[in-house]
Amino acid sequence: MALTVADVHRIAQLARIEIDAAAAAQVHGKLLAIFAMINELQAVDTRGIVPMAHAQDVMLPLRDDAVTEIDQHALYQSVAPAVEDGLYLVPRVVE
């Protein structure tokens, strides 16, 4: 499962992080070292072990179906990079 430079480009693309060839090569070296450490896990026998997703074994609490929010879009949009007529603006999305 050795991570390749092509993998670095693929995951950077998936993660929407621009990366050039030089940076990818540099990151690749570091990631190889990190994955060498992570790959210690592969030696552990985990057959039959139930994965632990949460620190506490609790049930999901539920909220009542009631409207509790008020309109705060002016406050929320005060930190937005681009807004018009209450809409967030982004570069044109082509369907």
Partner: protein, 490 residues
């Protein structure tokens, strides 16, 4: 593309599976307390959770879960005692968190089936491997904002139940029949308003073709976002023809996502995504497992209304209604309730209640574009009218006049029919002596017609009946008029 001839199509079998996105009719969103009401000004119903401000967290709406349970029970599925919310990761401007909270490995409902009347194969059981809860994304508005797209997140976080079928459907007709049945069912059990214009009920169709007799599935294409039954039919028909022609011309179907363009009546490939879809699903660490207790399931079960399929069978069995009438009456819970209420208030006059509900009432509703729930003539009022037909107070013909008057609001209350009958003097004349006098007058006043009748012209008899009815302003009991006229003409 031209239409293939039917002979060609017959050598091919169509295989369709549907994924239906049913927006749940909760007041608040699935993970926040923002309203789900349609049509608000942009982003005024987008809370901190809905726009994914840093630091906010999701809390699941009980009402969404309850609706999922209701659906699972209605289709005879398993309500999983433990289900898990996962994150589906992808970037899109209408998806504020960069992931959609959905259920993946462990959905809330597994199994179940929906009974559908197939136009070609009769009673068809459509199997549902799963139904899962998830959140809806926001909306991108493509009007020109200086070459930009506007993002409205009011819809983001609306609860949705995605209902998936096995590839059990074999034609666009069957797909539409299933979708219509499901559409009726989700409204019936009150989990969705069914409003297709507002996007409350949308389907994705997975369509493939294979040579007739083959048991291997062909490569499928997914047609996204079908928001009307007509588009669904057209899109599937187009896609089937496209795939058949492609294969017959030596090509191969590529698995892809397509969109239906209703203006051009064709499906087309969606712009190929920049990267192969890799959603990196994993259990949402913000949400422990959803645990549904037995008591909750039993309460929902006890509150479940009689389901349309059961009701249809009961109408046929108990009221001796034709299957087609029973099916139409159970198209919606309101219509069925109206019929049942009218039939029962009319003292069990089920057949006539069905005829009136499907006839005069439905026609008037359609004419005026009103919902049965808002019918100006209530079920008890209709029943009051039906009773007067049954007991001979008025004829069927007069009843239509009374109905129109009731519709126009001429009288209030359950006894509106009686009020109108009395006020307008429409009570049927059944008094033997009174009818004899009217008939006798008519004979005396129309010697020429009487002569024609006596000369053997049968039509003249009907003409005389017409005179008598006119003289009684339609109120004379027609059967009695007939008998007395025959007797007096000797």
């Amino acid at each position: 593309m031209s239409t293939s001839n039917p002979a060609t199509v017959n050598r091919w079998e169509t295989v369709i599976g549907l994924e239906t996105h049913v927006q749940l009719s909760t007041a608040a969103k699935i993970f926040s307390g923002a309203s789900t009401a349609f049509g608000a000004a942009p982003n005024t119903q987008a809370s901190a959770v809905d726009i994914a401000l840093p630091g906010v967290l999701p809390v699941l709406n009980r009402g969404a879960v309850e609706r999922a349970i209701r659906f699972g029970l209605a289709v005879g599925g398993n309500i999983n005692r433990r289900s898990v919310f996962a994150r589906k990761n992808y970037f899109y401007p209408d998806l504020p968190k960069g992931y959609q909270i959905s259920q993946y490995e462990f959905p809330v409902v597994t199994g179940g089936e929906v009974g559908v009347a197939s136009p070609t194969r009769g009673d068809l059981r459509v199997h549902l491997p799963r139904a899962h809860l998830e959140e809806v994304a926001g909306m991108s508005l493509h009007e020109d904002f200086h070459g930009m797209t506007g993002i409205d997140l009011n819809r983001a976080g609306t609860p949705l139940l995605e209902i998936v079928t096995e590839p059990d459907l074999r034609s666009s007709d069957e797909a539409v029949a299933y979708a219509r049945t499901l559409h009726g069912l989700v409204r019936w059990i009150g989990i969705c308003d069914g409003n297709m214009q507002e996007g409350s009920f949308r389907c994705d169709a997975n369509v493939s073709v294979r040579r007739t007799g083959s048991d291997v599935l062909g490569t499928r294409c997914e047609i996204k976002n079908l928001n009307s039954f007509r588009f669904m039919q057209e899109a599937i028909d187009f896609e089937v023809r496209r795939q058949i022609e492609l294969i017959e011309d030596g090509g191969t179907v590529v698995q892809e996502t397509r969109l239906y363009d209703p203006d051009r009546h064709e499906t087309r490939s969606m712009r190929s995504k920049e990267d192969a879809q890799d959603y990196r699903y994993f259990p949402d660490p913000d949400l422990p497992p959803l645990v549904i207790g037995e008591d909750w399931i039993e309460r929902v079960r006890s509150e479940l209304p009689e389901l349309p399929e059961a009701m249809r069978a009961r109408f046929v069995r108990d009221h001796a209604l034709p299957a087609a009438d029973a099916a139409t009456l159970t198209a919606s819970r309101e219509l069925a309730a109206y019929f049942e209420s009218a039939a029962s208030a009319a003292g069990g006059e089920a057949k006539i209640a069905a005829n009136w509900t499907l006839g005069e009432v439905s026609a008037a509703l359609n004419r005026n574009d009103i919902d049965i729930a808002r019918s100006p003539v209530s079920a008890p009022q209709l029943a009051g009218l039906l009773k007067r037909i049954a007991d001979g107070t008025i004829s069927g013909k007069i009843a239509k006049e009374v109905f129109d008057a009731m519709w126009a609001g001429e009288a209030d209350g359950d006894a509106a029919a009686d009020t109108i009958i009395d006020r307008r003097g429409l009570r049927q004349i059944s008094d033997q002596g009174a009818i004899e006098r009217i008939v006798a007058d008519a004979i005396a006043a129309n010697p020429a017609i009487v002569a024609e009748y006596k000369a053997g012209k049968e039509k003249a008899f009907n003409s005389l009946i017409g005179r008598v009815m006119a003289a009684s302003k339609g109120r004379a009991n027609p059967a009695q008029v007939n008998a007395i006229l025959k007797q007096l003409l000797g």
